[in-house]
């Protein structure tokens, strides 16, 4: 436990010092958004045992909502983000209600198919800008008080939101609700026989995960100033799975590590190898499944237990 505490303190210190260390703040913000997205996904896969293959639907629908409200209707950033989260929660509720009727592999396929439906809606709806997406999304200000134009200010805002979400997820997992989710993951028939209305629990977990994924999407739209179809694409759903798996699903910090690795890989490697990055990501996926199923953090934790 003490090493974990020390590790978190170090991570916090690093995160706070990023602008001083001269690391490109937009890159760090993107990383934090994807880390939040992966944490949301992990809440579902790692702590409730449901593999969603459609999380891009929530990430993307929130990103589109926020970007559209800010650009076309002049909404402030905070209400636009809240609206984005609301929409992703609603989409999550609809997809969740349908998907939790099936288990395991079928659950994954149903979420994949329904997310594809959301993709086509985003492609064809009149307000999403089709193939171009929505460009030049202004960051606005924090409730009219604090302008978010400066990268440094925006970075600390994103960092604060991320920290809050991270604590919230820990809180959810350690709550009685989280324990019931764990029970459902371990042995569903048993949880039913103990009298839990498991569908309600699963649905709530699904909506929570979708909302947090949406929050990440909305923030990403404001940070980078655009939203495109790649946010709702199947490959985006796949990437978040990889981030979680690579870092360690079912661990708190794993998804953050996984997101950091993948975002860094994409950012720096694509300059060197260009489009081969997709191939490398596919290869990492295969390697992860074959040899590295506990992920970086999971393997480290296992090493410490043994040693």
């Amino acid at each position: 436990m003490r090493t974990a505490g020390f590790f978190y303190a170090l991570a916090c210190l690093f995160a706070l010092c990023v602008p001083i260390l001269g690391i490109y703040p937009i890159f760090m913000m993107k990383l934090l958004c994807f880390a939040m997205y992966a944490c949301a996904f992990n809440l579902l896969l790692g702590f409730s045992g449901m593999l969603s293959f459609g999380h891009a639907a929530f990430f993307g629908s929130a990103a589109y909502t926020t970007a559209w409200l800010v650009t076309a209707h002049g909404w402030g950033s905070v209400p636009a983000i809240l609206a984005g989260v609301g929409i992703s929660a609603a989409v999550g509720w609809i997809i969740g209600v349908i998907a939790i009727r099936r288990h395991g592999i079928y659950f994954a396929m149903v979420t994949l198919a329904l997310a594809q439906l959301v993709y086509f809606v985003c492609l064809e709806a009149p307000f999403t800008g089709g193939e171009n997406g929505l460009q030049d999304v202004p960051r606005g200000s924090l409730l009219g008080v604090l302008s978010l134009k400066s990268d440094r200010v925006m970075y600390y805002v994103v960092l604060a939101v991320f920290a809050a979400v991270f604590v919230l997820i820990r809180r959810i997992v350690h709550s009685p609700f989280g324990q019931v989710l764990k029970a459902i993951r371990e042995n569903e028939p048993r949880a039913i026989s103990l009298g839990y209305d498991i569908n309600r629990y699963k649905l709530l977990a699904f909506v929570l995960s979708a909302s947090i994924a949406g929050l990440a999407g909305s923030l990403k739209a404001l940070v980078l100033g655009f939203t495109t179809l790649s946010d709702v694409l199947q490959s985006n759903s796949g990437e978040v799975i990889l981030m979680t798996l690579l870092g360690g699903s079912g661990t708190f910090f794993g998804p953050v590590v996984g997101a950091a690795l993948i975002v860094t890989l994409q950012e720096y490697l694509s300059d060197i190898v260009g489009g081969w990055v997709t191939v490398i990501i596919g290869g990492v996926f295969v390697a992860c499944v074959l040899a590295f199923r506990r992920g970086v953090v999971g393997e480290l934790a296992a090493l410490r237990l043994r040693g």
Partner: protein, 294 residues
């Protein structure tokens, strides 16, 4: 009777034809998925990638070695089938004992790698494959103009689907296969080489996908992405039909293709999503799927 609800009959029949062509591809792909899932418990996300590889094998065979369409119909599935067997032996066999989700993730990674590689080597823009001479042109049936190649695709894939059904349900080999699905360790105790059977089945399943790819090459643009957009629809088809039944996957594949075609006539904007909407409705009304048992 040249119009139904104000839509020319010829247009409806034309779209019906297109729907049947797509439905035939759905049927062939979901058939392979069902057989692979039945035996190995792996949902083969790479199925779309093998379909793409089939089309590329035909295209490159023609461009590089002058292999004609008829030879490609045999060679492309053979090459891709061998590739499938290698994939199974090298990678897939390590995940059978794990949660089935790992099989899905592994094959997803494979699909990404294949699509990415093709994209890098041949670019993302489409290339067209010429319709073979013997199947060019159209036939005038009086009430509609029938492109011969499309009729051939429907005929060929129906024959292949029914042939596969016959092979699995009515032959000794099929009986062995079904026995392996029921209880592999027992079958192995009887002296059947089950790992070989599994590898061959995976090879056969993806060869079927590759064959669909060759058949599709002249009617669509051959692109690295052609498989990944198809596989999602096929997954929805499989969820609707249930993966347990072979005839179920053939019937639901064809039916959904036709429904999709007819949607194009009535409300073209919805034709991309109609299969997913039907899937959602089926799940609400009959959670186990139409032919499935969970």
């Amino acid at each position: 009777m040249t119009h139904v609800f104000g839509i020319p009959v010829a247009v409806i029949l034309g779209q019906l034809m297109l729907g049947l062509v797509n439905g035939a591809f759905y049927a062939m792909l979901s058939l392979g998925l069902a057989v692979i899932f039945g035996l190995m418990g792996v949902v083969n996300f790479a199925h779309g990638a093998f379909y793409t590889l089939g089309a590329f094998a035909a295209l490159l065979g023609l461009q590089w070695f002058g292999v004609n369409y008829w030879a490609a119909l045999v060679l492309a599935p053979l090459v891709v089938g061998i590739l499938g067997v290698v994939t199974e032996r090298l990678l897939l066999r390590h995940v059978y004992k794990l949660d089935p989700l790992y099989g899905l993730l592994l094959t997803f990674g494979l699909a990404l790698a294949v699509e990415g590689t093709l994209n890098q080597l041949f670019g993302s823009s489409g290339q067209s494959y010429p319709v073979p001479k013997a199947l060019q042109g159209t036939m005038n049936l009086g009430f509609m103009i029938l492109p011969i190649y499309r009729a051939w695709v429907i005929l060929a894939s129906l024959t292949i689907c029914l042939g596969t059904w016959f092979l699995i349900e009515r032959t000794r080999l099929g009986a062995t296969l079904r026995a392996a699905t029921e209880n592999a360790p027992l079958l192995q105790a009887f002296g059947v080489n089950v790992p070989l059977l599994v590898a061959a089945t995976y090879g056969g399943g993806v060869a079927l996908a590759a064959l669909a790819g060759v058949l599709a090459a002249p009617v669509i643009q051959v692109t690295p992405q052609m498989g990944s957009s198809l596989v999602t629809v096929v997954f929805a088809v499989v969820v609707i039909g249930g993966m347990g039944s072979i005839l179920g996957s053939i019937v639901s594949g064809l039916t959904l293709g036709i429904i999709e075609g007819l949607t194009k006539v009535v409300y073209p904007e919805a034709s991309n999503i109609v299969v997913f909407v039907i899937m959602a409705l089926v799940l609400i009304l009959r959670p186990a799927g139409l032919f499935g048992k969970e």
